[in-house]
C-alpha cells in the first residue's frame, strides 16, 4: 500500500496541480483566461497543433538542436574538465575562461552568434552549447582532481600511458561527477536552444511560443512551454537511466 502511494505520488501531485490550475481559471481567480488559459484549453490547442503536424515538427527541430548542443558540450566539457583536473598548465589556462564564462549571460552573445553562424540551426546549437559546456567542464574538473592518487599511481606502475590513465582511470573514476554535471548541462542546453529560438527563428518550440504570443494565441504559448518542459523531463529521465546502468559498480549510497 505504501509502495503504491509512493509510486503513484508524482502522478497524484501532478493531478492536484492541474486540478488547482483548472479550478483557479474557471473560478476567475487568475483574471482573464486569455492571460492564463485553463488546462483544458491548452490541451485542446495541443491536440490541434499535433494533428496539423506543427507541434511534432517543432518538437523534432528543438530536440535535434538540444541533442547536438548537449553532445558537443559533453565532449568539449569532458576534455576541458579532464585537462583542468589533471594538468596544472591546462588549469592555469582554462580556469579564467571557465570562471568568467560560467556566470556570463550567454544570451548576450547571441547577436554575435547569429551574425557568425546565421539565422538557422547553428546559432541555436551554439547558444545551447554555451549554456551547457561550463557546468560540465566545472563538474568534470572537480571530480578529476579528486581521483585518489593511489588509483593513478597503480595504473602508472602497470605501464599505463598518459592517455590510458586519463581515459581509463581518471574518466571512469570521475563519472559520478561527470553525470551530475551532465544533468545540469542538459537543462542548460534546453534553455539555450529554446531562448535562441525565441529571439531569432522560424521554427522550433521557442519560435512557437513567440508566435503564439504575437498572434494573441496564448494557448499555443503554453503548449510550447509545457512541451519543452516535458522534453526536458524525459531527457533527464533518460540520463538518470543511463547513470543507473553506468554506475552499477557503485555501492548504493554513492549512486543516489
Amino acid at each position: 500500500m505504501m509502495r503504491l502511494i509512493s509510486r503513484a505520488g508524482p502522478l497524484l501531485a501532478l493531478a492536484v496541480l492541474i486540478g488547482a490550475w483548472h479550478i483557479a481559471v474557471s473560478r476567475g481567480w487568475l483574471g482573464n483566461p486569455f492571460v492564463l488559459p485553463g488546462p483544458g484549453a491548452v490541451a485542446r490547442r495541443a491536440g490541434d497543433l499535433w494533428s496539423d503536424e506543427s507541434l511534432p515538427r517543432d518538437l523534432r527541430t528543438t530536440l535535434g538542436r538540444v541533442l547536438a548542443a548537449f553532445a558537443l558540450a559533453l565532449a568539449a566539457g569532458t576534455i576541458a574538465g579532464l585537462a583542468m583536473g589533471r594538468s596544472t598548465t591546462a588549469r592555469a589556462a582554462l580556469r579564467p575562461i571557465v570562471g568568467l564564462g560560467f556566470p556570463a549571460p550567454k544570451i548576450a552573445m547571441f547577436p554575435a552568434l547569429v551574425i557568425l553562424l546565421g539565422l538557422g540551426t547553428a546559432s541555436k546549437v551554439a547558444l545551447g552549447f554555451a549554456e551547457a559546456v561550463f557546468p560540465i567542464a566545472a563538474a568534470v574538473a572537480a571530480a578529476a582532481s579528486r581521483v585518489p592518487e593511489r588509483l593513478t599511481w597503480s595504473a602508472e606502475s602497470m605501464g599505463a600511458s598518459r592517455s590510458a590513465v586519463a581515459f581509463r582511470v581518471v574518466l571512469p573514476s570521475a563519472l559520478p561527477g561527470l553525470l551530475a554535471g551532465a544533468r545540469v548541462g542538459l537543462i542548460g542546453a534546453i534553455i539555450g536552444v529554446y531562448v535562441g529560438e525565441m529571439v531569432v527563428s522560424s521554427d522550433g518550440l521557442g519560435h512557437a511560443m513567440v508566435a503564439g504570443w504575437r498572434q494573441l494565441d496564448t494557448a499555443q504559448l503554453y503548449v510550447s512551454v509545457v512541451a519543452v518542459s516535458v522534453l526536458g523531463f524525459v531527457l533527464d529521465g533518460l540520463l538518470l537511466l543511463a547513470r543507473r546502468r553506468l554506475m552499477r559498480w557503485a555501492p548504493e549510497n554513492a549512486s543516489g
Binding site: W153, E156, S157, W249, A250
Partner: protein, 273 residues
C-alpha cells in the same frame, strides 16, 4: 643473534646475484608548514638482493612510506639515487609492482576486470587474459569472486585482489605499503601466511613497509629499522628463522623474544617522529 651462516638457503639466495634494488644516499625534504624545509629522509643506503624479503620499520611519521614511493618512482628524491636491476629509477614502471594499504582497486571494474586490466597493459592478448586472470585469482585464494565488484568485497578479499592485480604485472620487485594495516587481526594473520606462500612460489623480491614488529619478524629475511626524521638506517636485523617457516616455529624460536625486544627498544628510543 642468529648468525647468517647458520642458514645455508638464505645465504645461497644472498650470494646469487648483485643488488636487485640499490639505494644510495636517498634524501627527501619538503616545504614546512610555516617556512623553511623539513628534511624527511636524511640519506639512506640500502641494497636488496634478488628474491629477498626485506621489511622497513620505524617510528610513525619517519617517512618509510615516502621512501617506498620514491623507490616506486611516484615521487622524486632530492638527493641520491635508486637503481633497480642497475637502471636508475626515474618514474613508475612495470618492473616494480606496488600494493597499497588502501587497496586502490578500480571500483568500476569487476575483480576479474581489475586483474585483466593489468594483463592488458603488459600486452597479454585479449584471448589469454581471462585464463591468466583466473589463475592469478586462484593463487591468492579467490576462485569464486571474479564477477563481483570491489564494493561487494571484504577488506581481506580486496587486498587479495590487489595482490593478484600486482602479480599480473609480472614484475620481479614487489613494493608493499603496509598492505595488511587496514585488516582485522585474523585476516591479517591469514594473509601473512598466504603472502609467504606466494613469495615462495614466485621468488619475488619484496620490500615491505609495516608498523608491526611481529609481522616484520615473521615475514622477513632482513628488517631495516629507520630512525625518526630525518630518517636514516638505524639498524639492520637478520632474524634467520628457518624457511619455510610457520608462525608457531617463529614464536617458539629461542631468539624471537630478544629480537622483538631489540627492535622495540630501538623504536621506543626514536619516539614519535
Amino acid at each position: 643473534m642468529a648468525a647468517e651462516a647458520a642458514h645455508p638457503v638464505d645465504s645461497a639466495r644472498r650470494e646469487a646475484d648483485e643488488a636487485k634494488l640499490r639505494l644510495s644516499g636517498v634524501a627527501k625534504s619538503y616545504a614546512g608548514r610555516r617556512r623553511g624545509t623539513v628534511q624527511a629522509i636524511g640519506g639512506i643506503d640500502l641494497d636488496v638482493r634478488p628474491g629477498e624479503f626485506v621489511s622497513l620499520v620505524g617510528p610513525s611519521g619517519c617517512g618509510k612510506s615516502t621512501l617506498l614511493y620514491i623507490i616506486g618512482g611516484f615521487i622524486g628524491a632530492d638527493g641520491g639515487s635508486v637503481l633497480c636491476d642497475g637502471r636508475e629509477v626515474s618514474g613508475p614502471g612495470p618492473d616494480r609492482g606496488i600494493v597499497f594499504q588502501e587497496f586502490a582497486l578500480f571500483p568500476w571494474k569487476t575483480v576479474l576486470g581489475n586483474v585483466t586490466w593489468a594483463l592488458a597493459r603488459r600486452g597479454v592478448s585479449r584471448k589469454d587474459r581471462p585464463e591468466q586472470a583466473r589463475r592469478l585469482l586462484s593463487l591468492v585464494g579467490l576462485d569464486e569472486a571474479g564477477r563481483l565488484y570491489p564494493s561487494e568485497l571484504s577488506g581481506g578479499m580486496k587486498q587479495r585482489v590487489a595482490i593478484a592485480r600486482t602479480l599480473a604485472m609480472d614484475s620481479e620487485v614487489l613494493l608493499m605499503d603496509e598492505p595488511f594495516g587496514a585488516l582485522d587481526a585474523q585476516t591479517r594473520a591469514l594473509l601473512q601466511e598466504e603472502l609467504l606462500r606466494i613469495w615462495d612460489e614466485t621468488g619475488k623480491t619484496v620490500l615491505f613497509v609495516t608498523h608491526s614488529v611481529e609481522e616484520a619478524l615473521y615475514l622477513s629475511d632482513r628488517i631495516v629499522v629507520l630512525s625518526s626524521r630525518p630518517s636514516r638506517v638505524r639498524d639492520v636485523i637478520t632474524p634467520g628463522f628457518p624457511r619455510p617457516r610457520t608462525r608457531e616455529q617463529v614464536l617458539a624460536d629461542s631468539s624471537y623474544a630478544a629480537l622483538y625486544e631489540r627492535i622495540w627498544a630501538e623504536l621506543r628510543e626514536e619516539g614519535p617522529a
